[in-house]
Symmetry: C2
Subunit: 513 residues, 2 copies
Amino acid sequence: MTDHLRIFDTTLRDGEQSPGISLDVAEKLEVAEQLARLGVDIIEAGFPIASIGDFEAVEAVAAGVRGPVITALSRTGFEDIDRAWEAVRHAERPRIHVFIATSPIHMKKKLRMTEDQVRAEVVAGVGRARSYCEDVEFSPEDGSRSDVDFMCDVLQAAVDQGATTLNIPDTVGYGVPEEFGALIAHILEAVRGDFVVSTHCHNDLGLAVANSLAGVRAGARQVECAINGLGERAGNAALEEIVMAVRTRPDYFGDVETSVRTEELARTSRVVSRLTGYPVQYNKAVVGRNAFAHEAGIHQHGVLEDRETYEIIEASTVGQEAAQIVLGKHSGRHAFADTLEKMGLRLQGDALNQAFVRFKELADRKVQLTEADLEAIVAEELGTAAVHRYAIASLDVHGGTQATPSATVVLTDGDTKVEGHGEGNGMIDAAIAAISEATGVHGSVVDFKVSSVTGGGDALGDVVIQLAVDSHKASGRGLATDVVEASARAYLNAVNKLVRLRDARPRERTVGP
Amino acid sequence: MTDHLRIFDTTLRDGEQSPGISLDVAEKLEVAEQLARLGVDIIEAGFPIASIGDFEAVEAVAAGVRGPVITALSRTGFEDIDRAWEAVRHAERPRIHVFIATSPIHMKKKLRMTEDQVRAEVVAGVGRARSYCEDVEFSPEDGSRSDVDFMCDVLQAAVDQGATTLNIPDTVGYGVPEEFGALIAHILEAVRGDFVVSTHCHNDLGLAVANSLAGVRAGARQVECAINGLGERAGNAALEEIVMAVRTRPDYFGDVETSVRTEELARTSRVVSRLTGYPVQYNKAVVGRNAFAHEAGIHQHGVLEDRETYEIIEASTVGQEAAQIVLGKHSGRHAFADTLEKMGLRLQGDALNQAFVRFKELADRKVQLTEADLEAIVAEELGTAAVHRYAIASLDVHGGTQATPSATVVLTDGDTKVEGHGEGNGMIDAAIAAISEATGVHGSVVDFKVSSVTGGGDALGDVVIQLAVDSHKASGRGLATDVVEASARAYLNAVNKLVRLRDARPRERTVGP
């Protein structure tokens, strides 16, 4: 047992299971690269058996991202495990994460298995995983509602088959710190062998971080968590809170340390928020825009005298500083590529060209672009993936309180041009109707989100639209100084994605711990 | 000591101190009335000495809201206490909440007082408060970083002077549950007398809820908390999480019970989010839109078999149900007023008339309106308060990728009409420029937020704009099926407010525990 606390990030697996989030391979890679820069120990990249998209994303992360251990989730069945291994085998350091439920309600209602059957599954599954890979993690799903003796029995079987990490999920967020800490302590005492104990806590009662930290105090040396606390329902423990709690209270957590570069926390939070389309609450701890709000111009006598009167973390420690202006309309292609490089954002070939074109279009209308603006431009490019079928040649919209809002759009479709006209309840509606007419794709907008990239009046509008056509869903992102134009771009990007995805196998929504 | 856990809501005091939140009297009353419906025990309505606006709001809540105890915050100085009493004296059950810092860093850097001076302040301040009112609460600010013996000494002095509640703040969110619980237990042992111990925990490390609950386990019988976890920096403990944790785990919290009507939690969260302009994270526990996301169409094998496989709270328990359609374009004035009444929303006279006009305008464009839409209409009316100087007679906007976005607006100003024309980077910009020209008020937009009232493509756009002119700030809200029109309305509402507020005394930002 060491005092290094392993940070296991499951943003790409449990986080990506959240409704409305659907990252494509390029987006997952972008998140994984940022997680590697952040310095997490393990990245759970997906659940390969769940869909071809999941498989491809895990494979791409395993092949492309260096630094962290890359792991894939798997049920105990051999087909699952084989598929997980196939996806992660090219990682520098692969791990297979096997799970099966051990609580009475899950065994009875979901698995329809007896305790003996579940134990046999664990023996077979962990054994199979271990035959591929030295690094195997096992999770008894719904651990906090399981019979403790049976769960320890199963955990012992997993260790005996070669599992090196035992992860204890509070799948439904039912735990309270005192109890959950005691459970971890009990497991460390009852199970024999050489393994690391891990926590995986859900936030249904707002206690995910506290439960995880109680686990750490009791001896857990891996915490499963996600950026911005993403995850099923109310989400997982927030990575940024876990890391900063351990760092801020060394007097309480002793020699426990993480390898996270905390100054990357704010950017990681922004990247994940932008790509998932999930906003971060202003008053979110550590990464919310108010977490250090005195810095933003609210004068407080105490803080002016001494920062520590009201603050226990310095804003720069977590990378929360004022937006820095980095480029303007006179910046060239070289400066653009250079700045992205310095920010750790890698775009190549067509994607770089397209991003540069968008940068120039935006810089023409907005005098200065900040780091956050550039991140958004890159996100827009990622979202559209490699293939744009349609692009906007021109858009004209008219509206107000007197006339019915209307829009006319001209799109390029390869070498030809198509035109569409539409009306609606509002100008965004009208622009969408025009694009539907031009492309012949008639979807319904199931989610629509507008945010500003930075604060203030001249902020870029950043729109994320989720579009559904039959059983297919895709999301698109658009960026512009005008909110209707940004919406039209987002909608068209979603259409482009959908056209590409339509033929892929539909994704089965299988849930992990 | 009883096992009734008092819920002390500080949304209107600590929550309202958050940057960018500035509720006027009508908005504070609306929140307070919803809190009374929710069944909280105590409403902290504000900090009367801080500004005339704060004073008026506390006075209005004290005079108008029945059910909960109404309290006002106060420093130990007599002027503060007198002013607090003046504001709350007409409450059914008034309370004065006196605080002073007891931590070395606060005493030295902020107060510049010795321990003896602080103790003397407490004796004098609590005594004064008690001379007005039988219900007096005392808080040693930054309690968790105070010397325990000194703090207990001060607490004893407060009890000896007649304080009936001792509230222990973790002002900087530095506490961890085990420690904070032990602190509460120690206070209950060390201080003699008849009093209730209370917690007030901030969320800087994501532990506010866990720390509060550890306090409850140790014997605290009041929890200070806020809707959606609002408050300074990363906020306070979230009321909804505290209440649901206690309710969901009776096996752990024993006979502790709150009087909160949990089925009002979701609506209270919406009302507060809408009036403050602070979004609620999708994955927020209890009140986030994903907290029960299986209900929203994501099919999961387990949940279909048995809800409890993945859920520990039923969505209806906290009022999270699908948006109900309540009114359409054919609904008349009577049905409108009736529905608001049933929803517990009270609008009278001009405000009701204006809301009805807005309802008809919106219903003309959108076939059906849900409860959430109506809440938003009422919020728009509240936001503009009683006096509209300007109203939109007509708006015409034009934009797209080819032409410079432009707008023309005609406003009524009493009996006359004023016209303005503007151009901008986007159509919203252009509409704002047109309104600036028409009104002659040239402010800068410091915050801009667009959200949809309900999901889906035909949702109403709900825009909140915060406007600054010189040292004055005001926020306005606008609702329309078109986002540019909604923005124009929001901007104009902010202008209307600013015109009214310009002459009021500027607000001093004084911070409480």
